[in-house]
C-alpha cells in the first residue's frame, strides 16, 4: 500500500497535477493542443502503453487497442492534424448530404426512422476490411477484447455474436463520427487532434446526436463538458491533490480512521476483472496503473464525502470513468454523478435507492401499465383475499414495501447500467445521462421493461391457468404470484445482458414517438422523487407515531430493515396495529402522485395528521 502511494507521487507529471503518467509523445500532444483554457488531456487514460500488448498507439491506447475497423481516415487521426482534415474532406460531401437529408426531415427531429438516415450514407464510405485490425499493429489480444479492453465474450454473448454485431456497429460508429465532425465544423469548433474540448450548444439536433452516440474517442471530453465538470473543478481547484495528500498521511500514520479503505481494497480487483486494463499480469508485482488510479479516486472520494464514503457500485462508476478520462476528472465526475444525478443513492442508508425505485415503479405503473401487471406487488392483489384483514391495497404501499423486482433494478441505478448492458449500450446511456440528466436513467429503464414485454407475455398462461383452477383457489393464485415474481425477476435481470445492439433499445423505444414514456422529462422525475421521498418519510413517521414500536424492538439490531419491512409487518400484527396500518395507508394512499397530463397535481392531505392524532389519543 505504502509503496503504491509513493509511486503515485513519483508519477506526477509536474504541472498537470492530475497524477497522470504521460508518455513523452503525449506530453508533446498536450503542449501542442493546450491553448483553450482547459488543461488538455487525452480523452482516454494514457496509462495503458505500459501494457505490453498495447504498445502501438500510445496516445489513444484504449480505443485503438482494437476493434474499430480502422479506416485509413481513422489512422490518419493519429498521425496528425494535417491528414485528419484530408480525411474529412474526402468524406464531407457524403456527410453534408446525409446531414441535410436529416435536417430537411422534421419528423426526424424527435426520432422517426433512424434506419433511413443511417442508410443514406452507409454504403458510400470507403472502409478497409471492416472488423479487422490493421495489419501493422497486431494486437495479440484483440481477438478476445473489445476496443476498451473488455472481454468480448460474456455468459450470454459469444465472441462470434460479438464480432458479427461489431462488423455492423463499428460502421455505424464511423458514420456517426463523421456526422459529428460536420456538426463541429459547422459550429466552428476545433477538433483538436481528435480530442475536442468544446461541443455545440444545446439543441434538439445535438440531443439526437448524443442519443445516437458520442464518438468513443471524444466521450471523456464530451461527458466532462456536458456534465459541466470544469465548472465543478474550477470551484474546487487543488482539492483532489489535497485529498490525495490526506490519504497518504492517513496511510502513513496507520490510524484506523479509514474504515472504507479495507472495503475499497477488496473491490479493486473485482472491478472489471474482464478488462485487460484492470488485470494484473502474472509477472507483475505491482498493481496495474488503472487499479492504482481507481484506488486513489475511491479513497479520495470517501474522504471528500464521508456521508457516502464508499459504496459498492461506485467502483464501477469510477472504473468506467477512468477508461475515458484522467483521475482528477474521474473524481469530479464521480462527485457529480453521486450528487446531481443520483442524490442519496449511495448514502449509507441507501434511501436514495429506495426513492428512485419508488419513482421507477410509479413510472412503470403510469407509462407501462401492461408491464405493471407483472411486477405489481402481491399485496395489491390481496385486495380480493379472504384471509387478509388489512387494507394494504392498490394504493401506494409499493412505495414503502418495494416490489422484489426493485432489487434487480436498484443496481441499474447504482452503477448507471455498468454491467447491466453490454458495454457499448452502457456507454450510449452515459452519453445521454450527462446530456439529459438523470431522467434518462428512468427512461432507459422503462425502455428495457418495454422490450422485455414479449418475454413477459409468455408468463401469462401460467398465471391465468392456475388462477382459474377452482380447486387450488386462493392459495394457488398466491403461489403463482410468487412463482411468476421469480420468473419476471429472471427475465428482467437477464434480458438487458444479452442486448448486444444498443440501437435496438434506442430505435425501438427511445426514438419512437408513439411510446408515451418519452413524455417523461427531468422535471417530472424531480417532482416524483420529491413526492416519493416525502411519502416514505411520512410513512416512517406515522408508523412511529402509531406505535409499531414493539416490533421494532424485535428488530432493532436490524434497524435498517424497518423502513421497508414495516408495511408487511402490520399485516401480521395485532388488531390495533392493523387499524393503525389501515389509517396510515388510507392517509398516504389519498395523496396520489399526478403525472403531467394525468389526474392533476399532487394533493397533499393535511387532514391525515388530525386523523392520526385522534387515533393516538384513543390508543393512549
Amino acid at each position: 500500500m505504502m509503496d503504491v502511494e509513493r509511486s503515485r507521487h513519483s508519477m506526477h507529471p509536474g504541472s498537470s497535477g492530475s497524477g497522470l503518467r504521460h508518455s513523452p509523445r503525449e506530453t508533446a500532444v498536450l503542449i501542442a493542443t493546450a491553448g483553450n483554457g482547459y488543461p488538455k488531456k487525452s480523452p482516454s487514460m494514457p496509462n495503458f502503453h505500459e501494457k505490453p500488448f498495447t504498445s502501438t498507439n500510445a496516445s489513444e491506447p484504449i480505443l485503438n487497442s482494437n476493434g474499430l475497423p480502422v479506416s485509413s481516415e481513422y489512422v490518419a487521426d493519429n498521425s496528425g492534424v494535417q491528414s485528419l482534415t484530408d480525411g474529412d474532406a474526402s468524406l464531407s460531401v457524403i456527410e453534408m448530404y446525409g446531414d441535410e437529408v436529416e435536417s430537411r426531415r422534421p419528423e426526424n427531429e424527435d426520432g422517426g426512422n433512424l434506419e433511413g438516415d443511417e442508410d443514406a450514407d452507409s454504403d458510400e464510405l470507403e472502409l478497409p476490411t471492416s472488423g479487422m485490425p490493421p495489419t501493422g499493429s497486431a494486437m495479440p489480444n484483440s481477438d478476445y477484447f473489445d476496443r476498451y479492453g473488455f472481454k468480448k465474450q460474456s455468459n450470454l454473448i459469444t465472441e462470434q455474436d460479438y464480432d458479427e454485431w461489431w462488423e455492423n456497429y463499428s460502421q455505424y460508429c464511423i458514420r456517426r463520427k463523421h456526422k459529428w465532425k460536420i456538426l463541429m465544423e459547422k459550429s466552428g469548433l476545433p477538433m483538436d487532434n481528435d480530442s475536442p474540448n468544446r461541443f455545440p450548444s444545446r439543441s434538439e439536433k445535438l440531443k439526437r446526436y448524443v442519443r445516437k452516440g458520442i464518438p468513443a474517442e471524444w466521450r471523456g471530453n464530451a461527458w466532462w463538458y456536458f456534465a459541466r465538470g470544469q465548472e465543478k473543478l474550477n470551484k474546487n481547484k487543488g482539492i483532489y491533490d489535497k485529498l490525495l495528500l490526506k490519504m497518504d498521511d492517513l496511510l502513513k500514520s496507520k490510524t484506523k480512521s479509514m474504515p472504507d479503505l479495507d472495503i475499497i481494497e477488496r473491490d479493486l480487483n473485482r472491478t472489471f476483472p474482464d478488462n485487460i486494463h484492470f488485470q494484473k499480469e502474472t509477472f507483475q508485482i505491482d498493481d496495474p496503473p488503472m487499479i492504482k488510479s481507481l484506488r486513489r479516486v475511491l479513497v479520495a472520494f470517501s474522504l471528500y464525502n464521508p456521508k457516502i464514503g464508499y459504496c459498492q457500485s461506485m467502483n464501477f462508476l469510477a472504473g468506467l470513468l477512468l477508461l475515458f478520462m484522467d483521475e482528477e476528472r474521474a473524481f469530479w465526475m464521480l462527485v457529480i454523478i453521486t450528487s446531481r444525478y443520483l442524490p442519496g443513492v449511495h448514502n449509507i442508508n441507501l434511501e436514495g435507492v429506495n426513492v428512485d425505485q419508488g419513482v421507477l415503479m410509479l413510472c412503470i405503473k403510469e407509462y407501462l401499465p401492461e408491464i405493471w401487471q407483472y411486477i405489481m406487488p402481491q399485496t395489491s392483489s390481496k385486495h380480493f383475499s379472504l384471509n387478509n384483514g388489512t387494507s394494504l391495497l392498490g394504493g401506494n404501499d409499493f412505495l414503502y414495501k418495494l416490489p422484489p423486482i426493485t432489487l434487480c433494478t436498484a443496481s441499474w441505478f447504482m452503477s448507471c447500467f455498468v454491467g447491466v448492458l453490454p458495454i457499448e449500450g452502457t456507454l450510449r446511456i452515459w452519453d445521454c445521462l450527462f446530456y439529459e440528466e438523470s431522467h434518462f436513467l428512468f427512461k432507459i429503464s422503462l425502455a428495457i421493461f418495454k422490450l422485455c414485454e414479449p418475454e413477459l407475455i409468455k408468463l401469462k398462461p401460467l398465471r391465468n391457468g392456475i388462477g382459474k383452477n377452482p380447486i387450488r383457489g386462493q392459495r394457488g393464485s398466491q403461489m403463482s404470484n410468487g412463482e411468476s415474481e421469480m420468473e419476471v425477476f429472471q427475465i428482467v435481470q437477464t434480458f438487458p445482458k444479452q442486448l448486444i445492439n444498443p440501437n435496438e433499445l434506442f430505435d425501438r423505444v427511445i426514438f419512437k414517438r408513439r411510446f408515451s414514456l418519452n413524455k417523461l422529462d427531468q422535471d417530472e422525475v424531480d417532482r416524483c422523487r420529491k413526492y416519493v421521498s416525502s411519502q416514505r418519510l411520512k410513512y416512517k413517521h406515522y408508523s412511529e407515531i402509531m406505535g409499531t414500536g414493539h416490533r421494532n424492538n424485535n428488530n432493532n439490531s436490524n434497524n435498517n430493515s424497518n423502513d421497508i419491512g414495516i408495511a408487511s409487518s402490520s399485516s401480521n400484527s395485532a388488531d390495533g396495529e392493523k387499524m393503525a396500518g389501515d389509517i396510515i395507508n388510507d392517509a398516504l394512499s389519498s395523496e396520489v402522485y399526478g403525472f403531467k397530463k394525468g389526474l392533476g397535481g399532487v394533493h397533499w392531505n393535511n387532514s391525515i395528521k388530525a386523523k392520526v392524532k385522534q387515533m393516538r389519543k384513543k390508543k393512549g
Partner: protein
C-alpha cells in the same frame, strides 16, 4: 410459498447467499453452477438470481440461488427477500477473521425475518485452500455453527473445487425432511417427523411423478 407449486413442475427452493463482501459467494455459486473458477469475480451489486435443477436420488428439484451484495449498507435492501427463502447460506473467509465475526449479523437478519425454525441455516468457511493464511480454525467454525443453530457447517474451497458439491448435496438432502416438519423445532438434528399438509402434497406429487418415469 414460492417453494411449492402445482405437480407438473419442479419443486423450487429459494436459497439466499449472505456474507461479507469478497468472501466468495459468487464464486461458490459459479463453482456449483458451472464448475469453474476465476480469481476475481465482479462485485455483486444488489442481488443476482440464478436457478439450477438438481438431481438427487430419484428426485429432481429446482434451486433458486440468490446472490447478494456483501457490503454492510446493502443489508438494508435484502431482508424482505430473505423472508421466504428455505435455505440461508452464510459465507465467511477463513483467512479473514472479521468476515467470520460478521456472520452473527447475517444470521440475526435471517432469524428476524424468517424465524429460527423455518429456514435451514448453513455456515460455510470458504477459501480453505489458503491454509497458510488461515485465521479461523475449523473447530471455531464448528462451534459457532452450533451456537448459532446452523444445521450445516462446512469448509469449502471454490478455487480447488473442494466440498462445494457436498455442500449442495447436504442442503438438498435436508430439504424434504425439513419440509415435512415445519413446526417441530428442528435444529441440529434432522427429524423426520410429521406432516405439513401443504408440503406433503407436493412431495407426493413429486414422488408419484418420479415413480411413473422409472
Amino acid at each position: 410459498m414460492s417453494s411449492a407449486r402445482s405437480g407438473k413442475s419442479l419443486t423450487k427452493y429459494k436459497i439466499v447467499f449472505l456474507g461479507e463482501q469478497g468472501v466468495g459467494k459468487t464464486s461458490l455459486i459459479t463453482r456449483f453452477m458451472y464448475d469453474t473458477f476465476d480469481d476475481h469475480y465482479q462485485a455483486t451489486i444488489g442481488i443476482d438470481f440464478l436457478s439450477k435443477t438438481m438431481y438427487l436420488d430419484d428426485k429432481t428439484i429446482r434451486l433458486q440461488l440468490w446472490d447478494t451484495a456483501g457490503q454492510e449498507r446493502f443489508r438494508s435492501l435484502i431482508p424482505s427477500y430473505i423472508r421466504d427463502s428455505r435455505v440461508a447460506i452464510v459465507v465467511y473467509d477463513i483467512t479473514k477473521r472479521k468476515s467470520f465475526e460478521f456472520i452473527d449479523k447475517w444470521i440475526e437478519d435471517v432469524k428476524n425475518e424468517r424465524g429460527e425454525e423455518n429456514v435451514i441455516l448453513c455456515i460455510v468457511g470458504n477459501k480453505s485452500d489458503l491454509s497458510d493464511e488461515r485465521q479461523v480454525s475449523t473447530e471455531e467454525g464448528e462451534t459457532k455453527a452450533k451456537v448459532l443453530g446452523a444445521k450445516i457447517f462446512m469448509e469449502t474451497s471454490t478455487k480447488a473445487g473442494y466440498n462445494v458439491k457436498n455442500l449442495f448435496k447436504r442442503i438438498a438432502k435436508s430439504l424434504p425432511e425439513f419440509q415435512e416438519s415445519p413446526n417441530t423445532g428442528v435444529k441440529d438434528d434432522s427429524n423426520e417427523n410429521n406432516a405439513g399438509v401443504i408440503d406433503i402434497t407436493t412431495n407426493e406429487e413429486e414422488q408419484q411423478a418420479s415413480s411413473c418415469q422409472c
